[in-house]
């Protein structure tokens, strides 16, 4: 390109005035980079405009920039940052509050759950204690009932002493002749071996006639070891023998554990 002609066209003066289009501006810059003369010419034109505009100034006040600096200080220092910070702070506050709230809810939920299970445990305990009380009351009633029956004025007490098969064994028979019942207190008898039961016999002496009045069934499970049996016989003595499970027709005398006579 013809640099002289390009400069002479007056486009550089327009460039400095700022009246060119964007494309023309880019073109001028492109040539200015390529050609030193064009760059110098632009600077010289600008210098002339600077001279004229400067001469037209009514004169800046002294320390004009100091006044400006104060305004810059007002505008710039960290104000957007402070705003951003405070905005962030309130954001975090919101998050923190909701987190606390959520934690609180969770705590309440867990606490409630724990209380519920505690209530369940206590309710269970209460039911169990109630059952125990009921059991004890039943037992007591039963025992009282038993005691009343044993204390009945129609009851004869017969002590049964230990025999050869088991010299240390003992038992007591509480015989209510009127009610035709006998209560055997078998506290002093050893536990029968598996497959055997104690059998209670009503005896008549002269001649010796044994009549079975029953088995001491569930010996191990009977806690107070008092057994109630029917006895319609005119008994003169009671004996207890160990017999195979289910009992025998006649007593096995070798296994006679206790024996005692009634009446005077």
């Amino acid at each position: 390109m013809d640099v002289e002609k390009y400069i002479a066209s007056g486009i550089l003066e327009q460039y400095v005035a700022g009246t060119l289009s964007e494309e023309e501006n880019l073109e001028v810059q492109h040539y200015a980079i390529e050609h030193q003369e064009i760059q110098h010419e632009i600077e010289s034109i600008e210098k002339a405009v600077l001279e004229v505009t400067r001469a037209a100034s009514p004169g800046l006040m002294p320390k004009s920039f100091e006044a400006l600096r104060n305004e810059l200080n007002e505008v710039i220092p960290f104000e957007p940052n402070i705003k951003r910070k405070s905005a962030a702070w309130t954001n975090y506050l919101g998050w923190a509050a909701s987190l606390l709230f959520a934690l609180g809810l969770l705590w309440l939920y867990l606490e409630n759950d724990q209380l519920k299970s505690k209530i369940e445990v206590v309710t269970e305990e209460k039911t169990s204690v109630e059952k125990q009380i009921l059991d004890i009351r039943n037992e007591m009633t039963h025992t009282e009932d038993l005691l009343n029956q044993l204390r009945d004025q129609n009851v004869d007490v017969v002590a049964l002493g230990g025999q050869t098969a088991s010299p240390k064994a003992y038992a007591k028979a509480y015989w209510n002749k009127k009610a035709k019942k006998v209560f055997i207190d078998a506290q002093g008898l050893p536990e029968p071996p598996p497959g055997f039961n104690y059998q209670v016999w009503s005896l008549k002496l002269d001649p010796l006639t044994p009549t079975s009045i029953g088995l001491l069934e569930n010996f191990v499970l009977n806690e107070n070891k008092v057994f109630e049996l029917e006895n319609p016989n005119e008994s003169q003595a009671f004996g207890i023998t160990l017999e195979p499970e289910g009992g025998s027709e006649s007593p096995t005398l070798e296994q006679l554990y206790t024996l005692g006579a009634t009446g005077p």
Binding site: G10, Y15, K47, V52, T53, R54, S57, G59, L60
Partner: protein
């Protein structure tokens, strides 16, 4: 420090660089504003505002769109014209195009003005009225080539060539 480095520092909010740019261009900006507003005190305030605006909008300057000074000129002119508009709603455009200040220096001889009349006379020595008017419209008042052509009643091509010759005359005068 060359101009490009200075501008780049200013764009990174370097106050010292900004102060240097201010010392380089503030009088020129004030000259342009006062040429339009014709009130030195008010012009000084506007000039201050213009520099605050420049600082806050430092990244608005794009070297691919022209010279830094040209960018400043444009902002200053717009601020001054805004002032003119707010002062005289209807006649601001007429006032802007008919009040020649630089080209009519004799009219200001009697003013208690700090304007460098002697300097201006020296710079504009030998320039015809058509030249000074064109300079004033293009550089001080920010008229487009088309607007200048209409205002001075000359073809657009002539605006270009006459602009070149007028600036060249000023450059000659600067050497004296």
């Amino acid at each position: 420090m060359d101009l490009d480095t200075l501008i780049s520092k200013f764009q990174k909010k370097d106050v010292a660089a900004f102060e240097q740019l201010h010392s380089m261009y503030a009088e020129n900006i004030l000259g342009v504003i006062n040429n339009i507003v014709q009130n030195p005190e008010r012009s000084e305030e506007i000039c201050q505002d213009v520099f605050v605006k420049i600082w806050n909008n430092a990244n608005g300057f794009n070297p691919s769109k022209g010279r830094f000074f040209t960018w400043l000129l444009n902002i200053a002119r717009n601020a001054a014209i805004d002032e003119l508009r707010s002062k005289s709603h209807k006649n601001w455009k007429k006032n802007l195009s008919t009040n020649y200040f630089v080209g009519n220096l004799e009219a200001h001889d009697d003013m208690d003005s700090k304007i460098d009349i002697i300097g201006l006379r020296k710079l504009l020595k030998g320039l015809k009225e058509k030249c000074t008017e064109l300079i004033e419209l293009l550089y001080f008042k920010g008229f487009t080539q088309k607007e200048v052509a209409e205002q001075l009643n000359i073809p657009i091509g002539t605006v270009k060539t006459r602009n070149r010759s007028c600036i060249s005359q000023i450059r000659e005068n600067m050497k004296i």
